[in-house]
């Protein structure tokens, strides 16, 4: 069942490989273009290809050291996971990459809550942070907490950021995300604008979870990583929300 935050979520996937200084990049781009028939392909300075599929709110990004995806909403990932895995596999084969320097999946979820920004911030004290009174010698009136935690989770490295966001903060934060303009078909298209407006409409609980593996990741592991990281990211968002609201985690 889709989660309530599905439509207020940005996802990023990146498979990094040793830089290609030869002629593999255009060959790979051409192969992907033929096979997956994007609606549009942009070639940007710095040898960056951006493949776009209108209406699907997904981008394929290709540079000489990275193959990545970016989507608006989490549902696109769920529905097209197999396609994404095939594209990555075909792309890396065309690039003749044998090992990856890094592979990562990042979810930025703005989980809407029917409470104020101040209340959201207050709920951090207890479930995540020491009770409010313990902070008063450091900050007499703590508000707007932000937590960043690095570590490992289920065999992957993880960087987790939790915060409460008011609409202005959410809007600013989303506008700072890379490539969002590329989701628009043209200058008058409002896909990105509508997404940000909806995502930043009310105070929200930000869960930014970045799951990754580094150093000599075998190409064969990509498909498994895609499956595992999606499930893990979803479970981290759900568990974070459950903890914030003091609910038993599923």
């Amino acid at each position: 069942m889709p989660a309530s935050y599905d439509d207020h979520t940005l996802t990023f996937f990146a498979a990094d490989f040793p830089p290609d200084f030869g002629d593999r990049l255009p060959i790979c781009a051409s192969s992907l273009n033929r096979t997956y028939k994007p609606d549009d392909v942009n070639f940007r300075p710095g040898s960056n290809y951006v493949f776009k599929w209108w209406g699907k709110r997904k981008l394929l990004l290709l540079t000489n050291k990275r193959l990545g995806f970016q989507t608006l909403g989490l549902n696109t990932w769920r529905q097209e996971l197999e396609t994404f895995a095939r594209i990555v596999s075909d792309g890396l084969r065309a690039l003749e990459a044998s090992k990856l320097t890094r592979i990562g999946f990042k979810v930025v979820a703005l989980v809407h809550q029917s409470m104020t920004h101040a209340e959201l911030g207050d709920l951090f004290f207890g479930p995540f942070l020491a009770p409010l009174e313990n902070w008063q010698s450091l900050v007499s009136s703590p508000a707007d907490p932000l937590i960043q935690m690095n570590g490992e989770h289920l065999g992957m490295k993880v960087q987790l950021v939790l915060s409460s966001m008011n609409p202005e903060q959410a809007s600013l934060s989303l506008h700072g995300m890379p490539n969002l303009d590329a989701f628009n078909k043209n200058a008058s298209d409002t896909v990105t604008h509508r997404f940000i407006e909806k995502a930043a409409a009310v105070p929200s609980f930000l869960v930014d979870v970045d799951l990754f593996r580094e150093n000599d990741v075998p190409i064969e592991d990509v498909s498994g990583f895609l499956q595992t990281s999606l499930k893990t990211a979803e479970s981290v968002v759900d568990a974070s929300l459950a903890r914030l609201l003091s609910k038993a985690s599923k």
Partner: protein, 233 residues
Amino acid sequence: MIRPNTDTADLEKRSFVEGYYRGMIVAGRLSSTRSSSTYEVPDPEAQAEVSLSIAQPLEALPLFPHHNSPQLRAKTKIVARSVGSQVGPPSPSYLAAKRREQSAKIMESVNRLASKANDRAFHIWTQEPLQQIKRLIHFLDQAEEFTEVEHEGNACEILRQLRDSFLREGWERFRSKSVRDTVVVLLKKLASEDAISAKDADHSMDALLDAGLEPVLTKPLHGGRKRNPGSKA
């Protein structure tokens, strides 16, 4: 709920006539509304006494038919209990989250009583859950004092039943595992549900009575004994 399109003077007059008066500072100006309505205060920590001027001639008000003064000064206490810079009453989902969080802590305290069940000074150990229950009742009561709907009213009812169960000789019953288990089941509900229904409160009452507890005190707290003169209530 503040009625932004309502004339302030009219509200003031009406509230006097009806005899329910509450004064509030709203965004630097004075307004008032009935006590059954909710409140709005710009500074959440504000607790001040203000002077209120009524613009209408007081003869017009049936409460003061013979008053000649053109002005009435009324002292009003403003108390806000909101979070951070929030204006207005707390959100139901916030209160539910706080109730779940605190109920889980109370549940842990009740569970910890198991290790002290045979202690001679057991009543001292029961103070921890009792105080936690009282604090949570106080928090929820205060938070919803001015709201039109009490979302946590049934939760408070269960908490009051639990509080009363500890009073008089009730604490002694908590030495029994079955009594603690009964209470833990009720607390688990408070610590997990989005909303607590009136049916839950009824069920809680039955469960506590079945466990031999006294969820509603039917006799004086001190057994009807005469107190020493001068002793505090």
